[in-house]
Symmetry: C2
Subunit: 415 residues, 2 copies
Amino acid sequence: MCRAGVPYATPVSFFHCPCRRNAGYRMDQTNPVTPLSHQHVTFPDGLQLDCGFHLAPVDVAYRTYGTLSPARDNAILVCHALTGDQYVADPHPLTGKPGWWGRMVGPGLPIDTDRFFVICVNVLGGCMGTTGPRSLRVREDGTEEPWGTDFPAITIRDMVRAQHLLVEHMGITRLLAVVGGSMGGMQVLEWCATYPEQVFAAMPIATSPFHSAQNIAFNEVSRQAIFADPQWHGGRYWECNEIPARGLAVARMMAHITYLSEAALTRKFGRRVRTTPGRGATGGPGSLFGEMFEVESYLRHQGSTFVRRFDANSYLTITRAMDYFDLGAEHDGDMSRPFRGTPTRFCIISFSSDWLFPTSQARLLARALNQVAANVSFVEIDSDKGHDAFLLDEPDFDRTIRGFLCGAAEHAGIG
Amino acid sequence: MCRAGVPYATPVSFFHCPCRRNAGYRMDQTNPVTPLSHQHVTFPDGLQLDCGFHLAPVDVAYRTYGTLSPARDNAILVCHALTGDQYVADPHPLTGKPGWWGRMVGPGLPIDTDRFFVICVNVLGGCMGTTGPRSLRVREDGTEEPWGTDFPAITIRDMVRAQHLLVEHMGITRLLAVVGGSMGGMQVLEWCATYPEQVFAAMPIATSPFHSAQNIAFNEVSRQAIFADPQWHGGRYWECNEIPARGLAVARMMAHITYLSEAALTRKFGRRVRTTPGRGATGGPGSLFGEMFEVESYLRHQGSTFVRRFDANSYLTITRAMDYFDLGAEHDGDMSRPFRGTPTRFCIISFSSDWLFPTSQARLLARALNQVAANVSFVEIDSDKGHDAFLLDEPDFDRTIRGFLCGAAEHAGIG
């Protein structure tokens, strides 16, 4: 049997390759697909998960940018959000689009790869090379099949444990910084709670110390949209060579609204209409489908491009991990407890128009850190771009990241 | 051919009755269903719609409460929201639940049926007896079939025109008040813009003079969830004796989140978990579906009960009408123009935690009315219950409605 990570010379069909542990697939059903080989490490002993399950082996796929210093003290771990991946600053291998944080990570940029060694890991449960629902498991009869929905429930802490395996494997005993937005920020917090001595500085951005009822509710509707798609086939869609594209697109469309502010949507689209003649048999003036608002067209585009790069069962797994996240509950209801005596310096960032992870939630985190006299600063960036502001052009945000990391490097004694 | 409104003695299957123009159906596929007869009037000449289509005949289904005075001057029209209907203050004929505004409309209540004659009309495009996508049309070959998605696109103004037919039919030349929340508030505004001399007082509640980009976006995701359900069958689900229940449930679940505030969701559900053992083959500890948050259970209940009473094509039609609504655009970009010289006295009400129709939008309306020196008061009710506050127990809100209507009655010279 070929091992994970071995590149294929021959294109194979989606979900028909005998070894898919470390492969991603183009999801266009009409064409042969090229499996991807991701930079990765396999950990045969795997991980003990919070749910009690021992997952082994575990593949951890990642990208690095810049050069690790001889003292191995200049590493910054960037943690990605729900639908992100390790391709932070180079073109995405499936879509060809620029890296999701290419404006932040690179030579001379706020996270300066001329100076720092940047690591980004595809999260456990993901679909870009790290072990997840699309990975193969060995059944009792010795044959292999994808985990699908039998993939164990994972937590944000499990994701961090997988990253920790890689960081140790690289011989890095302390990260100069851990940085991440949204679900990436949850990982930042779990790093500081679980491996406090190994994080010199931390930047939790546009995040919260727990997932709120409203956010759980939105995630649940996303999941129901996927479950409702008959092409999901109870999670075993690979057997039919199908993907639940429509359900996943609806999930993505809804989530996308929550990433933007009302002001941003109004500025970008307002109530502008595009008339699309002959849109199917039911189109035409005066009919239900004769016109389309610009914002609808945009959302449909978001939905349809997303399904080409993301696995539905990964979406289910990762949204569940976000929902489980509750730093206080993990520590007997005391959110500040994991940070007692922490040596880490924190910079918490929120955005004024972010209603998915509002400033009020970041403030709870700041208070918990203050209660244990942690070294913490808290910056609310004035922006009307909503939750997605952390991915967009916000000069104040860039300056905050650059300044904090420079200060951290200085205090850590890095030249 | 039997006419609309004729009650049936024999139960028939969903969508298999030869005359359904004025019938609603229990949607439980496992039982024979009882068609409903709604109080209604048929207008054979129908309506000229904004889209240019002449819709005829038009049935207008309604309920009344209280007694019309001999002078016919004590009528209050209550306009319902997206998924409401005419059953304001008596049990719903399909669900058996109390009327949706039973706490507001009744003897001695703020909209006092001992004093006022209250009318509520099922909106055009609806599914509780007024002409809509489920109503029959006559095809060229003389046979009949439901309109489905060929039902013409309608506007809020079209809904108001249908209500106006009924009000005139009742011999009422002036309504003492028109009152409504959410989409009901849009109808209130269209009444005042279209028939200013016939509205003495108006209460637009938790509403906006236009549908925002964010609200259009949420509606679009709702529609896509319905389109994605293969049981929608391109809108012709009656042919298969099916309903797109899963898509409609997802639409309802998502919409329901937008009706509540984050604070209300946190207070009602927080992060409380219910463990449901044996939830299908994939359930069990540590699996993806082993646990469920209370908020998820609540949303699923909301989704599943909704599909029993609401028609998917009506949902598509009515959300479209909301999206089209833009009072300014209807009047050359000047939102205040339709109110120039208006004799109507206005009381605008918003709720502080309503993020679907926020106070900022109500304020735009208040400013437009001020610009033309209209008689307008504006009350923001302090509430953490979100958009749905107008349906819930808010004593300040009740007092505002009671006080404004009493004042209006006094000024109108009603004893």
